[in-house]
Amino acid sequence: MSTAPRTEGRTEAGETPLVEVVDLKKHFPIKAGVIFDREIGRVRAVDGVSFSIRRGETLGLVGESGCGKSTLSRTIMRLLDPTAGKILFEGREIQDLRGRELTALRREMQIIFQDPYASLNPRKRVSQIVGEPLALHKVARGAELRKRVDELLELVGLSAKDANRFPHEFSGGQRQRIGIARALALRPKLIIADEPVSALDVSIQAQIINLLEDLQDEFNLTYLFVAHDLGVVRHIADRIAVMYLGKIVELGPSEEVCSRPVHPYTETLLSAVPIPDPRANANRKRQVLEGDVPSPANPPEACRFHTRCPYATEICSEVEPQLEEHRPRQEAACHHPLNVGAGKRTEGETTFESGAR
């Protein structure tokens, strides 16, 4: 994958993006052996990924289970050590930070997890859970800490009265609010939201998405929003990155990626999303993928999608396509890009007829 300087995350003024990732790799060794561990293979969970996120922007990261999206987000947060590549936060390389510097960095980026039942310590009161980051980083203590916790709870739509309760006394949506309050405690610049609504009921999902959007406006937060649900991602994200087997195959503005996908994989993902409109469903052209995602320990040669791609030709199994701009600000790694050329309607165009019934 190209490591050339990328510009799409920068404003016209050339402002430094909040986050920049350059040719990032995270491989997990597969080991065997009784006495000596021998490395017999590698799971290439993230295998050469480059992108950047502007301040105040929401980048959506989508892909199927096992595509590496969670590994990527944890590597950016330095919860996992990268195998290769660079991570820049506010222009500073952070991939090798250790000790005190790393601790200081943790104040700047926080994560919201998928499962609000598993991510909150059941034996701690809400005040302890939300106040922990403040205490840990010695930002506040005593009455000041208590005041900050109450403010945070009100901010996410809970009340100061909830501070003394335990997580089990709350519903899933309320627990996710507690997780958001905790993530906001240190006023981070970047929030990584890893499937923050997929465990919630639909009516509650809407509440949490609206809350995340309001908080972004209020605090100029930057989000990396990881999810498998394209509808949710399209709603919240400014740009979308689509991952397949450890690589980004398409990256572009949300509306463009969803209405005129360039990569065939994006097209198949879109056409698999069920839409709540029976008549439109009946008329929809479906592109159903056969088979399963290949193992990331043994990904296909060249273009990793060629084994399942309906448009694949010989070149796809021989030459790896690079991420290139095919339409303004919309990049894809494909030898047979869809929806390119002026006003040309190709096979990919009919995925969604916007607003039509």
Binding site: S65, S171, V202, S203, I275
Partner: protein, 346 residues
């Protein structure tokens, strides 16, 4: 509702399921009635705790226990499933009525090969030799689209991918050509591309084998894709029951409007703000009086202090709802913006 009319394969009436818990009496399902016709796909949609799973588990006798009280009827083939004894039920389950669940990995035994489990499912209900059952097992795996079926019979569940496991579960459920397949969130744990495959498979098998399907889900997109008729559940009861198109294009209950409004839609221009239903679903231990949706409903008025019955109000006898608003009021109050129906303007 009367007992099973001949055109109904399964007829549930007044089903009520109550659990005794330490915190008090929990009524998970309250007076639920619905019919299932041969060959149709009935979608049951609702959020966690709405009673959609408990209702179906109870029909199969899977919630029975010392702390459970089940009343009402579930007529199937001239018999009331609620009063059948355990032996008679076992004879029906997995044979005439089958069920598949959300998580295929926890529904398959990790120590036995997929083939052994399939063969067992066949031999429990049929007096056939092992070779014959093995042959049938291979055919079943082929039917659900597992390539190289004969070899894969000897594999263990962990060697199957998520989609393959769900296919294997479906194969097992269909082993004895049931009249009814109850699918409880069968695609919720799967990726969208796999979900599309599994939903396609269920529809195809319905067409080929003529079985009826009860599809339990929280996802209105899934409903739109597969169902013929829909039951919307809230707080243990059905709040709306409608043919597929009517539910999506002429929804009558404010809760249904809220559900439709709160989903992100790929087929519409991006909404500035998602419509949301305020508050939380009520605790089944402390249900509100009157209409159960009243505390969250922006259109509630005095009359809602009394719970409305489920009856046809929109002019179509097949379309029933539990809301006191008149059809005209409903049409005026539900927000239709850019083709989207929501509860109230954002």
């Amino acid at each position: 509702m009367s007992a099973a009319q001949p055109q109904h394969l399964l007829s549930v009436s007044g089903l009520t399921v109550t659990f005794q818990t330490d915190a008090g009496e929990l009524r998970a399902v309250d007076g639920l009635s619905f019919d299932l016709r041969p060959g149709e796909i009935l979608g049951i949609v609702g959020e966690s705790g709405s009673g959609k799973s408990v209702a179906n588990l109870s029909i199969l006798g899977l919630t029975r226990g010392p702390d459970t009280t089940i009343s009402g009827r579930a007529d199937f083939d001239g018999r009331d499933l609620i009063t059948l004894d355990e032996e008679e039920l076992r004879e029906l389950r997995g044979n005439r009525i089958s069920m598949i669940f959300q998580d295929p990995l926890s529904s398959l035994h990790p120590f036995y090969t997929v083939g052994k489990q399939l063969i067992e499912a066949i031999q429990v209900h049929r007096d056939v030799r092992k070779e014959e059952a093995a042959e049938r097992a291979a055919q079943l795996l082929e039917m659900v689209g597992i390539p190289d079926a004969r070899r894969r019979l000897d594999e263990y569940p962990h060697e199957f991918s998520g989609g393959m496991r769900q296919r294997a579960m479906i194969a097992m459920a269909l082993a004895n050509e049931p009249d009814v397949l109850i699918a409880d969130e069968p695609t919720t744990a799967l990726d969208v591309t796999t979900q599309a495959q599994i939903l396609g498979l269920i529809k195809e098998l319905r067409d080929r084998l003529g079985m009826a399907v009860i599809m339990i889900t929280h996802d209105l997109g899934v409903i739109a894709e597969v169902a013929d008729r829909v039951l919307v559940m809230y707080a243990g009861r059905a709040v709306e029951s409608a043919p597929l198109d009517a539910l999506f294009y002429d929804p009558q209950h404010p809760y249904t409007w809220g559900l439709l409004g709160s989903i992100t839609r790929m087929d519409r221009p991006r909404a500035a703000k998602l419509a949301q239903i305020k508050g939380q679903p009520p605790s089944p231990l402390a249900l509100p009086t009157g209409c159960k949706f009243r505390p969250r409903c922006p259109h509630a008025f005095d009359r809602c202090a009394i719970e409305p019955p489920l009856e046809p109000r929109a002019g179509d006898p097949a379309h029933a709802d539990r809301c006191w608003l008149s059809p005209d009021e409903k049409r005026a109050k539900r927000v239709v913006e850019g083709g989207e129906i929501g509860l109230e303007a954002a």
